[in-house]
């Protein structure tokens, strides 16, 4: 997730103060992980350096009274980001693979590692399913996306569990 692009995108609605921008980011994208103020200001400083935003200072204002506005270059940057597909990332699977291999190497139960992960995945899937039930169409679509990804992870967990013996022989010949 590119926080910079998200903040830029939010600025397309009009100039904002940093704290205002953070609030609106958290509302829309930050339900699981709200932004830290530090990150907001450091991101804005970077966008400023790159010429994607400019500052409209209010008379006699301190740093937190600065209003940020998106520039034409900023608008173009958001547009080209939106036009680019995101790279599919095997983010979690590599960590889990490491855990499974380590479990096998250290004589711990790899199947339990996998089943514990499954339980945690399912816990989150239940939560998303409940959120989906009570939410509007936008919530449903966002939750479904997450659910399909978690399901893919779970399939991998199941497949790996079925191959644990094989993997054990490979890891510890």
């Amino acid at each position: 997730m590119s926080v910079g692009r998200a903040l830029l995108g939010l600025l397309e609605n009009g100039p904002r103060h940093g704290y205002d921008l953070k609030r609106s980011y958290d509302e829309r994208f930050g339900t699981d992980r709200p932004l830290a103020y530090g990150q907001v200001y450091s991101t804005l400083a970077r966008l400023l350096r790159n010429g994607f935003v400019e500052v409209e200072s209010e008379p006699g204002a301190g740093p937190e009274r600065k209003r940020y506005a998106i520039t034409e270059a900023g608008v173009a940057d958001v547009a080209s980001w939106l036009a680019q597909p995101e790279k599919p990332e095997p983010y979690l699977q590599s960590t889990l693979y490491t855990k499974v291999v380590l479990a096998l190497l250290t004589g711990n139960d790899a199947t339990t590692v996998l089943d514990t992960q499954r339980a945690e995945h399912l816990r989150l899937m239940r939560e998303l399913t409940r959120r989906k039930e009570t939410g509007d169409l936008a919530d449903q679509l966002v939750c479904d996306h997450a659910l399909f990804h978690l399901e893919a992870d779970l399939r991998w967990l199941e497949l790996t569990a079925a191959r644990v013996q094989q993997l054990a022989a490979h890891v510890r010949p």
Binding site: D115, R126, L128, F148, E158, A162
Partner: protein, 227 residues
């Protein structure tokens, strides 16, 4: 969970010839909960479900329902219990092809002695609850897979059972339809207070449960609420 479980399987063992389907399977189902049975193909999920529902008799071990030993019961007693307190939904509805959908749903009530009128009234209400009242007069062969499964769910719930057993109830449906069936199924079960034992290999279907148990090589690995 604080209460006594409603349905308990202890150390079930069951072989089909040389194949051991259940090795040492134990699991407990609490009143009103939705329990998902997951696990690889051939691990013994359906066999366990059938033992829990009194359809199969284990070679060893015991199934207790509401304090009564299902495995020691007379066949007739067990069938009566199945008809009045248990419900079943399978991957392919298993509706009676010669009867209309309405008659299919009314059938369990008729078998339990209800009048035709009362049974049909109740069956209509259930079809409506599952959003398939419009297919009431059709035969199972004339409805879609999704509609058929909703009818099957209605038929399983019409007697207000205390436990509904479902084996891959959405296995033949696409995601959107499968999810709608699960939503209606689980919501209806929760309304009537029925426990659901649900066999599925789909995580998105299992996500409608309260808890899962994983069946591997004829044994159950339960991961209790870790948090």
């Amino acid at each position: 969970m604080p209460t006594e479980p409603l349905l308990v399987a202890e150390h079930l063992r069951l072989s089909f010839g040389a194949t051991t389907a259940l090795e040492d399977a134990s699991v407990a189902v609490h009143a009103g909960e939705v329990l998902a049975l997951m696990g690889p193909s051939g691990s013994g999920k359906s066999t366990l479900l059938h033992c829990l529902g009194g359809i199969l008799h284990p070679d060893a071990g015991r199934v207790t329902y509401a304090g009564r030993d299902l495995t020691a019961m007379h066949d007739s007693e067990r069938s009566a219990l199945r008809r009045s307190e248990l419900g079943f939904v399978f991957q392919f509805g298993q509706l009676v092809p010669e009867l209309t959908c309405l008659e299919n749903v009314a059938l369990p009530l008729r078998l339990n002695g209800a009048s035709r009128r009362a049974a049909h009234r109740s069956a209509s209400a259930w079809l409506e609850r599952l959003e398939v009242l419009d297919v009431a007069a059709k035969r199972p062969g004339q409805v879609s897979g999704g509609q058929g499964q909703r009818v099957a769910v209605a038929r399983a719930l019409v007697t207000r059972p205390r436990v509904v057993f479902a084996d891959e109830p959405t296995g033949a449906l696409d995601s959107l339809n499968g999810e709608r069936v699960m939503q209606l199924f689980v919501a209806a079960a929760r309304e009537t207070g029925a426990a659901v034992v649900l066999v599925t290999h789909e995580a998105r279907v299992a996500a409608y449960s309260d808890r899962e148990a994983v069946v591997r090589d004829g044994r159950v690995r339960t991961v209790e609420y870790a948090r």
